[in-house]
């Protein structure tokens, strides 16, 4: 049987995008970075805050968590690739140790689930060594952001954390993301700070080297621009999935579709069966496999690993 593959539409005209005058220039001074970040953050803010644009924000956050884990893994001097990290997280049976890569992804996945009201949660996540200072650092960052703009606020917390412990890159990046989220009043934490950072850029920033702040700000700006691309792309893919959803008549397919709209990688054997993750709707492992295959046939999801077994599916690129 053949299926007509659902066309992933290219009609993006309705979604906010970056104007050319933002993307064409180069970030050469702190002023240009500040100016461009204003435009960039506005567009990203519109995309993630207005449900009419149909951006699957949780999916976006979960995809960004994987990028952040990959980036911080490099910052911490490990060599894990994105696929390794994803496997380490998704293939650990319950009760076993995830290892450093899986733990790192777990850290970022918890980060995007943070409810911003609770400072206790943040303290739990960053660990006891930093729990005490977190509040102060965040306040300083927010204060700076209020007077000098969001990215300047990020710089203050990055510097503060790295000064306290130059190995706490993941905590530094997380707090920087929290400052952005709070200043811009987003509902979900989007981990954009770590994505493009390099060890040397952070080292310079910590040593207060010439132009270090500009370099780091420019990298975060780049990452935000990429996040806009990603958000638009995911909105398109989510729309395609929602379009074919009525054709899926498997039991529990609605809940399974919802899961695809919140998670970037789904292991059918553990996340769809015996119960669809987060629900009490049962699905047999065979039904779960068939469901994922059907989504691939319909052209709305893809298999992420290229393996014949231990497959992971997702709609994100």
């Amino acid at each position: 049987m053949t299926y007509q593959s659902a066309a992933i539409s290219n009609d993006l005209s309705s979604l906010p995008k970056l104007p050319d005058w933002v993307t064409s220039g180069r970030a050469e001074t702190l002023d240009t970075v500040a100016f461009r970040s204003g435009a960039t953050l506005t567009v990203l803010g519109q995309l993630v805050s207005d449900p009419r644009h149909g951006v699957p924000v949780k999916l976006l956050a979960s995809r960004l968590a994987l990028s952040a884990a990959t980036a911080t893994s490099k910052l911490e001097g490990r060599l894990a690739r994105e696929a390794d990290i994803r496997d380490a997280y998704h293939l650990t049976p319950p009760g076993e140790t995830r290892g450093p890569d899986g733990d790192l992804l777990a850290f970022w996945r918890e980060a995007v689930r943070l409810r911003l009201g609770g400072p206790g949660e943040i303290a739990d996540l960053v660990g006891a060594d930093f729990a005490r200072e977190v509040g102060i650092w965040l306040d300083t960052g927010l204060e700076r952001a209020r007077t000098h703009g969001p990215l300047a606020g990020c710089m203050v917390v990055l510097q503060a954390v790295l000064q306290a412990d130059d190995r706490a890159e993941r905590v530094a990046c997380l707090l920087s993301d929290l400052v952005l989220t709070r200043v811009l009043n987003w509902k979900t934490v989007l981990p954009v700070s770590a994505r493009r950072l390099t060890k040397s850029a952070l080292r310079d920033l910590n040593a207060k080297g010439q132009g270090a702040e500009l370099a780091v700000q420019a990298r975060i700006l780049e990452s935000i621009e990429e996040t806009i691309q990603l958000a638009r792309d995911l909105a398109r893919r989510a729309k395609a999935l929602r379009t074919v959803a009525p054709k899926l008549r498997a039991k529990g397919s609605d809940a399974a579709v919802d899961l695809f709209l919140t998670e970037d990688a789904i292991a059918p054997a553990s996340m769809l069966s015996p119960y669809i993750y987060g629900t009490t709707i049962p699905m047999t492992s065979r039904a779960a496999r068939r469901f994922c295959d059907r989504l691939v046939e319909l052209g709305v999801a893809r298999e992420l690993t290229g393996r014949p077994t231990f497959r992971l599916y997702g709609i994100a690129p």
Partner: protein
């Protein structure tokens, strides 16, 4: 535990309020009592105790680090020290007394020692975790015996990690907190840098994946 010691602290076990703040004591004595508590907690445990656990036995305002510093200051010249390992603190004897301890325990030559192969496998796991037996075979060019891995696991230096995505879903190995303590590491980042250039390193990783 003898009956006598059990009797001595009935209030704690009944869940009576544990006095952290010690407001009735003068400053000086309070600080000494807090130092004593931390020292006692660390003494009673053979594994590292984290900051949050220690913070529970002293006043809200007390700095665990400063208390630890004061304890450490008193320990200079003692044959044991308060070391910071694996994200916590623990008491341990200084390395120079290892001979005396071994002689007293009549360990002779057997000691805690690792064979060269055990050490090699442990290193490979530390750097390449999570890694399964097939991955280890590719590094060493021969099968790594299950017995050797079982010995490392028995010493609690390695544990089971994620499943490897290969036929049979073998579990991979990862290092444990005991591993960090044994080799005096704060975290895996304290492992010595491998002296390979980046291209070679990624090449090594790629062959393991295949």
């Amino acid at each position: 535990m003898t009956a006598a010691t059990r009797k001595r602290k009935p209030t704690d076990e009944d869940g009576a309020v544990f006095d952290r703040e010690l407001d009735d004591l003068p400053r000086e004595l309070r600080w000494r009592e807090w130092m004593g508590r931390i020292e006692a907690v660390l003494f009673a445990r053979s594994s590292p105790v984290g900051r949050e656990d220690l913070a529970r036995v002293v006043g809200q305002e007390a700095s665990v680090e400063m208390l630890i510093d004061d304890i450490q200051a008193e320990l200079t010249g003692r044959p044991y020290e308060l070391a910071q390992v694996a994200g916590g603190w623990m008491f341990r004897t200084k390395a120079q007394f290892s001979g005396a301890i071994k002689a007293a325990a009549d360990l002779g030559e057997q000691s805690l020692g690792f064979t060269e192969m055990e050490m090699g496998v442990l290193c490979a796991i530390a750097y390449h975790q999570p890694i399964d037996r097939a991955g280890l075979r590719e590094i060493f060019g021969k099968e790594i015996s299950r017995d050797l891995l079982a010995r490392l696991r028995y010493k609690d230096l390695i544990a089971s990690g994620p499943r490897a995505p290969r036929p049979g879903a073998p579990h991979t190995f990862v290092t444990t907190e005991t591993f960090l303590v044994t080799f005096d590491l704060q975290s895996l980042r304290d492992l010595p840098e491998l002296e390979l250039d980046p291209d070679e390193r990624s090449a090594v990783l790629v062959c393991e994946q295949e």
